[in-house]
Every structure is written in C-alpha cells, then in structure tokens.
Symmetry: C2
Subunit: 345 residues, 2 copies
C-alpha cells in the first residue's frame, strides 16, 4: 500500500536532544505532522495514556525493535515494529486492537528518515486494522543509541473460539509452517556491512492477524498452539515447545518450505535456515484431522502460499526435536547456540 | 523495601550480544533467575504475550526510560520504569494491573548491575501491586546504546468513579501539587558529569497509584484532571493544559512547595524549579469546594506531605499560565524552551 503523505514543511531537518525534552521542541515535533499522521480519537486526547472500553479475555504483548539497518530490503523498522507486535498478539489467538508506540531516537536522525518510518507505521496499522493510541519520544546523545529504536506494545481481544495453550499440544498433533522460512534473516544479512551480497531477497515482514483469525474462525479449539519463529528461528522455537511440553517433535526436512535463493544464500553463508530469523511466518500446532484443511485455508493468503505440514508431535524422545533429512537421515536439532546475527529485529 | 534476593551463581558476569539472540543464551539469561525473580502465573506461560480477563474502561500507557546515570541518588532506572508507567496509568484515573517490561541492553552491562535493576523492579512492582506479565530482551553492540534502556507499558482498570478529562476542567477549579517539586531533576543533575555537586537530595521516584485511588474513592468526579509533571516540569504541563483547554491558569509562587536544598541548588544552577523534571509528584485539578479536603487527604501519605493548592483555573488570559511571585509581581510562564537536561527519565 502506498500512502501519499508528503513530509510537512519544517524549520528543522534533524532531530536533536531538545526534541526529547518534553517541552516546546517535543510539542513542535509531535505537532509537526506526527499526531496528524497517526490521528484517531484516542490518540487525540494527548493524555499520559489512552482510555478505552474492552472486555473479556485480553492479550498483551511487547517488543523492542533494534534492527540494523533501519531501512532494509522489503521494509523498515517502522512497519516491522507494527507487524511484530500485531503478530505476537495473533500468536496468543488474539485480534490486535490498540498499540503503543515509543521511540528512542539518537540525535541526528534526519526528519526525512523519521517521516519515512512514520508513514510506514501508518500504513502498517491500516493493513493490520489497529490504532496507535499512546506513545512516547525520547532522544539520546550521538553515540548512545543507533538512529532509532522502537518499542511497540499491544492489546487485543482473544478470539472467542481460541484455546491456544501449550497444555493442549499432544502427541499426534501436526506442525504447520505458514510459509517459506529464513527469508527475513537472509534479506537483512544481504545488506549487513562486511557481509553484503547481491540478491533480490526481501524481508517477508507482514501482519499475520487476518490469516490467524481466519483459521480460528474455522478450526477454533483444534488450533492448539501458535508461535512466530523470529530470533533463533524455527529450530529454537520448536525446542522451546518440546522442552516446555515435555514432548518430542519430528520434523521432515523435505516439507520445510525455503525459497531457492534463500537456501542458496544460506549454503553460501554456512547457515542452517532452521536457525535464521523470520518475520512473516508462523508455526501452528493443530489437531491431526484438521491439518490439511488448515494448510489449504492458509494457502489462500499470498503470504502463506507455501504453507505446509512439516512435522508432528510425538511421545517419543521427549524435549527433543529430531529432523529427518531429505535423504532420510535423522539428527537432533538443538536451540540456536550463540548469536547468528545480532539485531535482526 | 529491602528485598533479600541474592544474585544466583552464573557462569557469565556480563551481558553479551548472544544474550539477545533468542537462542540458548537468551534462554539461559532468563532462566538464570530473571523469570524466577519476577514470577507469576501469567509470566510463567512464556508465550509471545500474556492473556488475562479484564473488563470495562481500561487505560493503556507506555514509556521508554533512558535516564543517565542508571543508578542515581534515591533509585535506579528499574524502579523508575515501574513507577513511571504505574503513575501514567494512575493519571488516567486507572488502577494499574499488568505491566510489560522490555530491555535494550548495551553489551558489557555487568550481571551485577542488571540484577540490582531487576531486584528494584521486583520491589517496585510489589509496592505498586502490579505484575510483569510479558517482556522482551534485546542486546546491542557496545557504543550503540548506553548500558540499558527500559520500556514499560501498562494496562489498568479505570476507577469506576473517575471522570478524568480535559473537558471537565473549568474556571474556578483549583490546582493541587501533591508534593515538593523539582526534587528528581536536581537529584539527577547532582551526579551528572560536568555538573556534579555535593548534596543529600535524592530522587522522589515513587508509585502514586494508592494515593490517587484514595482521592478518587473519596471525591470521584470532583477530580477533573490528573497529570504528572515529568520532563518539562510543572510549567510545561500546565501550559499544555491551558493550551488544550483554552482556559487560563493562575499560579501562586508562595504556595508552590520546593525543598530548601532543591531551591538552593536551582538558584546555584540558574534553573527555575517550575521547569525541572519530577517523578513522585502529580498535579490534580479539582472542583474548588473539595480542594482543601483533597489536600488534607493527600497529606496522610508521606510522599504527599507537602501537598498544597498552588493555583486556579480562570477564564481570563486563555491559554496562558500566569505566576504571581512571592513578592506580588505577575509574569507569564511559558513551556520549557530547548532542553534543560537530557535523559532525566
């Protein structure tokens, strides 16, 4: 979605410490177009927080985004921060409603960069159907931050049919991946200093809430667990699930969707795609008898075009994830050890 | 409150990039005692977010804390981050319930420092009666952050009798300050590089939610507006209220409580206490006929011992704050211009 939101005429072209003072400059920065761009009745109260009516089972999530670089193939830190928290809420089986938005800006960020991030934030909130209702802006000295860090927190209503819980995961359940893995991580690596390589791979950052709501509408309590495998990748998240559920997980490599370019880049870089960070991908653990139908439904969404059943939950080898390779060998897949690439989200 | 929470034995003494990987090291850091220290049934689900039942009018607020130094006279960034968001919710007339906690750590922060911050967070949540239910930990390279930044966001239930709104502010309303102003800002300045001076002044960071609940219990809809004058100080917040309400505000300097030491330090530094940041202070705008009773009630709390009526809302000079000085002169008080002291909260 392209938004036509030209930057307003301003008498400053970069953000300085004074813009974080809470005084005239902060007010000026917010009045420069920030409030106007993100406007909605709740944000417009300009209070220390937002007040709204909401009832029932609510989900609440937070994430700070420190991705570097802040502009990357396929997106920027602004939309990533919206999609990321929208998706964390969706993984709780919730329909995201209200988001907070908090900036930590390093002085010297240009207003052009800040505006581009804001416009992406606006577009991402529209796609996800959420509102920014409260926020905060801090500025730190040059060399005490890195251009911009963004925290978003969010509140949503849990889907009435959702019964998402580790306790519902049981042997026989199928493990679904919603789309190709490792795309986001490889896209970021391709523009990292010292690592940069030519590729057309772009981040898959996207809001997943609509697709998640759809499978909950259709399959309700048959959806046992949802997780998005961001930092640490699919391997780490599945290990956490195996550890916490005291169950085993079998993975079938041949079913795991990876774009050819991404697989090629991983091979070049010596990386296993199972450990590479994702953004627009989720793992669903579902009752075996609905698994194929869930996959079919998901594939209606362009960003889930390669959804597939990639494994199953088993009573054997509790707490272990075992991969059957494409040529039939088996190996234990552990959590990510150390750091693959810092600041991937 | 002193908590007896000795740091667990660990095989690492500082935080490294790997602790932000999302993989084994992140899990190890959280399992090292962090989850145990902050434990509660909601946090213990270890999901991407927390799910709870809550109904009615809710308040939602966020703040990122970038204070420098992270340990200061009277507190540290941990309790500040809890108290700050608790207080923002209280200013909405809400009773804070659930908080999120998100760290951006610069690699090299020692585990001892991190643990001390965590223990302060724990103690502050206990004092305020709130729970940390969801969180996030990111680590950035040396020189890309400044020891630790903390975001807290929070959700609370609006007090059933609360009718806090700028629209309820009207001429004749009294303006109450809950305690001495400028204490926090001066305490931080006293330990700032290049500025440090000898003093016993300590930050007044404290949770205000109990006192706020008490005045809402007693005076309900007679409490028209609540704001905490943090960055930009009392002058800036009152200017925002005057601007947004299209009303005038009269302030009486002789009634404004300031500790002698703080007043002396301000004089030395050439600062007006009205612009200095506060933490444990709030402004209440209340119906005239309850003002004295509100003050009396507030003074029961040690941290509101010098609560006072310091001004009134008037129809004259709309959008302007006018101070009557101790010797009877009048002057217009504007918003904070520029930056008094960066990173005060």
């Amino acid at each position: 979605m392209l938004l036509n939101c030209p930057m307003p005429q301003l008498d400053f072209d970069m953000i300085t410490l004074g813009h974080g003072s809470g005084g005239i400059l902060t007010n000026k920065l917010l009045a420069s177009g920030v409030f106007e761009l993100l406007k909605n009745p709740l944000l417009d109260t300009h209070h220390d927080g937002a007040v709204f009516e909401l009832s029932g089972r609510l989900a609440f999530s937070t994430d700070s985004y420190v991705i570097s670089p802040i502009f990357f193939p396929g997106g920027n830190i602004g939309e990533l921060a919206i999609n990321g928290t929208v998706n964390d809420l969706a993984m709780c089986g919730a329909m995201p409603r209200y988001l907070s938005l908090s900036f930590i800006i390093e002085e010297g960020l240009t207003m052009t960069e800040f505006w581009e991030i804001l416009v992406s934030i606006k577009a991402a909130t529209q796609r996800a159907g959420v509102q920014i209702v409260t926020g905060d802006t801090k500025v730190v000295e040059k060399g005490k931050g890195d251009k911009i860090f963004i925290n978003t927190s969010g509140v949503g209503q849990v889907h009435p049919q959702a019964q998402i819980s580790l306790q519902h995961v049981k042997p026989g359940d199928k493990i679904i991946l919603s789309n190709n893995i490792a795309t986001h991580g490889v896209a970021i690596m391709s523009v990292r200093e010292g690592l940069d390589f030519e590729t057309d791979i772009v981040s898959d950052t996207v809001n997943l809430n609509e697709a998640v709501k759809h499978i909950l509408d259709e399959f309700g309590a048959h959806i046992h667990l949802l997780r998005d495998p961001t930092r640490g990748g699919v391997a780490t998240v599945l290990n956490e699930i195996a550890r916490d559920s005291h169950l085993g997980i079998n993975l079938w490599q041949r079913n795991i969707p990876v774009l050819d370019d991404v697989a090629g880049a991983c091979e070049l870089l010596g990386l296993d795609p199972l450990y590479v960070a994702n953004e627009g991908v989720f793992i669903a653990i579902v009752a075996a008898d609905v698994a194929d139908d869930v996959v079919e439904l998901l594939r209606q969404y362009s960003f889930c075009g390669r959804a597939a059943v990639v494994g199953e939950v088993v009573a054997q080898h509790p707490r272990q994830v075992v991969l059957t390779s494409s040529i039939g060998g088996k190996r234990v897949v552990n959590m990510l050890v150390g750091e693959q690439l810092p600041r991937i989200c």
